[in-house]
Structures are given as structure tokens and as C-alpha cells.
């Protein structure tokens, strides 16, 4: 059962990622990215990370992708024209990606001592996770909240109409 769930959702992940590359309309790419993120949440659950699975759905598939879809609608993004990128990206970049993937695969396949995930293993429950988060790592957690606050202020400051923009738009 475990194996079947893994194979189904890993296939969903890869199919969504490939579909993201093949689609020309940004809204279709955004929807396939949501498929990838939701499948990843299931994989997290298989790995025993229940809190992260829920956070993945709420934060990524919920908040971030809604932001993306909203910007796609706001800017009325149409189909992209296919120019296949710059020459440098095609000549150097794509072979480099293939080499990188081969390198990753070789390293991963040569690592010894990696275990397996099975349904019998205990999942990390949220109480255990929050004990570490709020006791040992309280300061980084609070710093993250300040970071989010700064990001909100930065987003508002960047996205509103400034003086320079108004002269450009006239």
C-alpha cells in the first residue's frame, strides 16, 4: 500500500512539473504547480511529517499559489511567446542540467546506509515538533515573524504607485 501510494503521488509530482514546463499559459502552469505541491504534501505524510504536510497545503498550495494566481489575473498575463531562451541558456544551460542530474543520481545511488520509509514507523507528532520549535528554537521563530512583517511592508511599498511610476504611466 505504502509503495503504491508513493508511486502514484511521485508520478503526479513529475507529471505536474513536466506539465508546468509544457504549458504556455501561466494560469495552467500555476495549476500544475498546485498539483505538484499537493502531491508533495502526501509524500511528506508518508515520511512521517504530518505537521509539514498540512503546512505545505496551507502555506504553499493555499497562500503562495493564491498569490500567484491573483497576480496572473491582475496583470492579465496572456500566452508567452516561445523563443526558447537565449543561446547561452540552450548551449551551456541544458547540458549542464543533464550533467547535474546525472551527478545527483550517482551520488544518491552510491550513498550507503539509507533506510526505507514504511507504514510501521512512528510519525513525528506536532507536540514533539512544537516542543523543539518553541523551546530550543524560539529566537529563530520570532526572527521569522519579523521577516514576514518586513516582507509585507516591502510588498506594499513596492506594489503601490510611487511618484516615479506616476510620471511614467502618464
Amino acid at each position: 500500500m505504502h509503495l503504491i501510494i508513493f508511486i502514484v503521488f511521485a508520478a503526479c509530482c513529475l507529471a505536474g512539473a513536466i506539465n508546468l514546463l509544457l504549458q504556455t499559459h501561466p494560469i495552467n502552469s500555476a495549476l500544475s504547480l498546485i498539483v505538484v505541491m499537493t502531491s508533495l504534501a502526501v509524500l511528506y505524510l508518508l515520511l512521517g511529517a504530518e505537521f509539514l504536510a498540512i503546512a505545505q497545503i496551507i502555506v504553499y498550495a493555499g497562500a503562495i499559489m493564491v498569490l500567484f494566481v491573483f497576480v496572473v489575473m491582475l496583470l492579465n498575463a496572456g500566452r508567452e511567446e516561445r523563443t526558447l531562451g537565449s543561446r547561452a541558456a540552450r548551449i551551456v544551460g541544458l547540458p549542464a542540467v543533464v550533467v547535474l542530474l546525472a551527478l545527483f543520481a550517482t551520488i544518491i545511488l552510491h550513498v550507503n546506509g539509507l533506510g526505507a520509509s514504511s507504514a510501521s514507523q512512528p510519525i513525528t507528532d506536532t507536540a514533539e515538533l512544537s516542543a523543539v520549535l518553541f523551546r530550543d528554537l524560539l529566537l529563530p521563530f520570532e526572527v521569522t515573524s519579523v521577516l514576514i512583517l518586513i516582507a509585507i511592508l516591502g510588498a506594499v511599498a513596492l506594489a503601490r504607485l510611487g511618484h516615479g511610476d506616476r510620471t511614467v504611466s502618464k
Binding site: 500500500m1 505504502h2 509503495l3 508513493f6 513529475l14 512539473a17 508546468l20 514546463l21 501561466p26 502552469s29 500555476a30 508533495l40 509524500l43 511528506y44 515520511l47 512521517g48 511529517a49 505537521f51 509539514l52 505545505q56 502555506v59 504553499y60 503562495i64 498569490l67 500567484f68 497576480v71 496583470l75 498575463a77 508567452e80 511567446e81 516561445r82 523563443t83 531562451g85 541558456a89 540552450r90 544551460g93 541544458l94 542540467v97 547535474l100 542530474l101 545527483f104 544518491i108 550513498v111 539509507l114 526505507a116 520509509s117 514504511s118 513525528t124 514533539e128 523543539v132 520549535l133 529563530p140 521577516l147 514576514i148 518586513i150 516582507a151 510588498a155 506594499v156 513596492l158 511610476d165
Partner: protein, 103 residues
């Protein structure tokens, strides 16, 4: 029926997703889709974090993923605001026409 999934498979999936993200970053011409490819790469790295946290039963590995998610949320908010600002000035989303800083 109890079958185990080797953790190697999770790591291979993570590597494949990361490389697909790079391909998207190189090939896509819409600035929003390029940004989505970056999010895909972040997700791939998160998957390998969770895998290693599972391997060593380390709760801190999962908390690292939590922090990565928070930073990704902040990054998405600021990045999309920059995209809106760029669109307002240049009136295009194509990265081919936003090449003022290109060599």
C-alpha cells in the same frame, strides 16, 4: 501487505524535481512562470530535507523545512510585488524585453 519505499527513491524524485525547476528557469519566457520554477526548486529541496529528517529521526530537519516555507512565503510576496512594479513600468511580462541589465 507491507512494502517499504527506499529513501533513495525520495532523493531521486527530489533531484528530478530540482532539475525540472532549473529547466523551467532557463526555458520559460514569462517572468511569473520563471518565478514558479524557483518555487518548484524550493519544494524539491524541502523534500530532501524531510527525507533526511526521516532517516535520522531528527525533528530539527522538519523545523528547517518549516523555516524554508516561511522564507518562501516572504519571498513570494516581495517577488510578486516586484513583478507588479516591473509590469507597471515596462508593460510586459516577457523576460526577453526586460533585459536592461543583461550583458
Amino acid at each position: 501487505m507491507q512494502q517499504d519505499v527506499p529513501l533513495t527513491w525520495y532523493l531521486l524524485l527530489s533531484a528530478a524535481l530540482f532539475c525540472l525547476g532549473i529547466v523551467g528557469f532557463l526555458l520559460k519566457r514569462n517572468i511569473i512562470t520563471v518565478f514558479m520554477s524557483i518555487e518548484l526548486m524550493l519544494n524539491a529541496v524541502n523534500l530532501s530535507f524531510v527525507t533526511f529528517a526521516h532517516q535520522w529521526h531528527a525533528v530539527k530537519g522538519q523545523i528547517f523545512v518549516f523555516f524554508v516555507m516561511m522564507v518562501a512565503a516572504a519571498e513570494a510576496a516581495v517577488g510578486l510585488a516586484i513583478i507588479i512594479a516591473v509590469f507597471r513600468v515596462r508593460n510586459t511580462l516577457s523576460v526577453d524585453r526586460i533585459d536592461l541589465m543583461k550583458l
